[in-house]
């Protein structure tokens, strides 16, 4: 398909489907993501948005269809979270991003705890790196790194969750409703982080959001998913909120 002159997209999802116990969570999902691009996925509750990103993240294996990264197909045997994280794809799930009883450094290093002599936790390294990440994101609200996450505000928690994704997600950062539980100031803060990281590091983002104003503020392209099918795709500048609502609710 490639003519040689155009580089393949960073991520290409082609007609993936997934069902659980005979119920179709996703009938057919297709979209591309170019390097440095912000793509948002919008759709009604239960339309299949989270299933779609879980397939990209390796948390589920698609029943059919294929996922390509840099033009190379991800084989079934390679379809695991560990492998996708290895390839620089990180996700922040809506309610399942953090372990509440652990500190910020532990949450930032979940699944990648640095070790000394094979078995001991390298806490110093974790604290230094956590500071670095928070500084990089200009997050000044998280000061005490010895407190459990559960004692922090929603905005602070989300900063840490997004910080983890950005720290490890060299290629693609996927955010599932990152501001759904946040107030206006905290939402603005998260949006600032996304813009800055994209501008400075060229990170690509996939964003799920119900907030259409936010979608139009952040997205380059908007993918509409309706009843388990990625039905429409819009460029940000060519779409109005009314048009989006129509696409989300009616699939038109």
């Amino acid at each position: 398909m490639n003519n040689g002159d155009a580089a393949p997209p960073l991520l290409s999802v082609e007609n993936v489907s997934k069902s659980f116990g005979g119920v179709h969570a996703l009938r057919s999902g297709s979209f591309n993501l170019q390097r440095g691009e912000v793509v948002t996925i919008v759709g009604a509750n239960g339309a299949g948005k989270t299933t779609l990103i879980k397939l990209v993240a390796g948390a589920h294996v698609p029943d059919s269809g294929r996922i390509m990264i840099n033009g190379l197909e991800v084989l079934r045997s390679e379809h695991s979270v560990a492998n996708m994280r290895e390839r620089g794809i990180e996700v922040v799930y809506q309610d399942l991003a953090l372990v509440p009883n652990m500190t910020a450094p532990y949450n930032l290093f979940l699944g990648r705890i640095p070790r000394k002599w094979g078995i001991f936790v390298d806490e110093r390294k974790m604290r230094i790196k956590t500071r670095e990440v928070l500084d990089k994101l200009n997050v000044t609200t998280v000061q005490d790194l010895s407190r459990p996450i559960s004692s922090m505000s929603g905005g602070q928690q989300q900063s840490i969750a997004i910080g983890r994704a950005i720290a490890w997600g060299k290629e693609i950062v996927i955010l599932d409703e990152p501001t759904a539980a946040l107030g206006p100031n905290e939402t603005a803060e998260v949006e600032r982080i996304i813009r800055e990281v994209r501008a400075r590091h060229g990170t690509s983002f996939i964003l799920i959001s119900h907030n259409l104003d936010q979608v139009r503020r952040l997205a380059d392209r908007i993918i509409v998913i309706h009843h388990g099918v990625t039905s429409r795709e819009f460029k940000r500048e060519e779409v109005t909120s009314d048009r989006l609502v129509k696409a989300i609710t009616l699939g038109e």
Partner: protein, 333 residues
């Protein structure tokens, strides 16, 4: 102005939280003072404290095993039967291989724990049900392999009768006495603290208890971790069974009956929530010690054993109700 000061609570929520952390320490101090007041020198004597120092280690090690599992939000009620089983295999191991055969007991404990872990994580049967079944099964297995008889540890001065299985290991018997048993227990306690606080696996226990789904979504193989958790707890039970063998001087089919409840109580008395995610080795030691002291104190005070059990139950509920932050608990099952 007087209005605002009079309305201010006696302690800020943060101070209340700090106090909660100290409940186990306050409880043990009160318990000691109480029994000192009741029984005087009969309780507060070198002889009696030496006795307590000998009685606590087995319970403490079992409480460590329980702490490992409870931190992840699961529970292991098979440890009493596992104790009897492992002690028996330790004794058999010594009959087969000499002194180093004791290791067979530790490995046997680890094996039972691994089986627990496999059933829980692969068949996805809740830990309470799985380990309840193992509690019953392993007790039966001990009775089958022992044929209902005990294996005695002797100091070699008396030769056993022809019907009695015995192993001559004076070193093991002296290990069951103060100070050796105390030094052993203190060493294990230090190693347990390092394991629980400083190793990646120790932190993984807390994370698993905090939110298993998050770990899974981030690519941790939770199945393997859970098997390792129960295997580690089993190894600790195996170690406890060797100490129990030394202490009791025999591997009996009845060893460790109901002791799983003591181990859970010790962890709970240490202020560790049974819902997982949090825990402390130091406070678990205090919990085990409190339980041992209360049992000892009640006996010295002449309280009949059945009433002692009632008193221990009341103590447990009181301690947990004070240490638990109930404002944060929204669902009680």
């Amino acid at each position: 102005m007087t209005d605002t000061t009079s309305r201010r609570p006696l302690l800020t929520p943060k101070q209340v939280d700090m106090l909660r952390d100290y409940v186990p320490f306050v409880a043990i101090s009160l318990v000691i003072l109480l029994f000192w007041a009741i029984s005087g020198d009969r309780f507060m004597s070198v002889r009696n404290w030496t006795f307590i120092a000998q009685q606590t280690p087995v319970l403490m090690l079992l409480a460590f095993a329980q702490l490992i599992v409870i931190t992840t939000g699961s529970i292991d009620i098979s440890i009493g039967s596992n104790l009897a089983f492992s002690a028996f295999l330790a004794a058999l191991g010594m009959m087969w291989f000499g002194e180093f055969g004791l290791i067979v007991g530790i490995l046997a404990g680890g094996l039972v724990g691994t089986v627990n872990g496999l059933i829980i994580s692969i068949l996805k049967i809740p830990s309470f049900v799985t380990t309840l079944a193992m509690l019953i099964i392993m007790r039966a297995v001990v009775i089958i392999i022992s044929d209902g008889t005990s294996i005695y540890v002797t100091d070699g001065s008396i030769s056993g009768g022809t019907n009695i299985s015995s192993i001559s290991a004076p070193w093991l018997l002296s290990l069951g006495q103060f100070p050796a048993i105390f030094i052993l227990a203190a060493t294990v306690a230090v190693l347990m603290w390092i394991f629980y606080e400083k190793t990646a696996f120790g932190q993984q226990l807390r994370a698993l208890g905090g939110n298993e789904k998050v770990l899974r979504l981030l690519g941790t193989n939770v199945t393997i971790v859970k098997i390792k958790v129960f295997a580690a707890a089993g190894l600790m039970v195996g170690l406890a069974s060797c100490v129990n063998l030394a202490r009791a001087g025999a591997a009996t089919p009845q060893a460790g009956l109901m002791i799983e409840l003591d181990a859970i109580a010790a962890v709970a008395l240490g202020g560790t929530p049974l819902t997982g995610g949090y825990g402390s080795v130091t406070r678990t030691i205090i919990g085990a010690l409190t339980l041992a002291i209360v049992r000892n104190g009640l006996t010295i005070a002449g309280v009949p054993p059945s009433w002692s059990q009632v008193a221990l139950g009341v103590l447990l509920i009181t301690a947990i109700s004070i240490s638990l932050n109930r404002s944060k608990v929204d669902v009680v099952k």
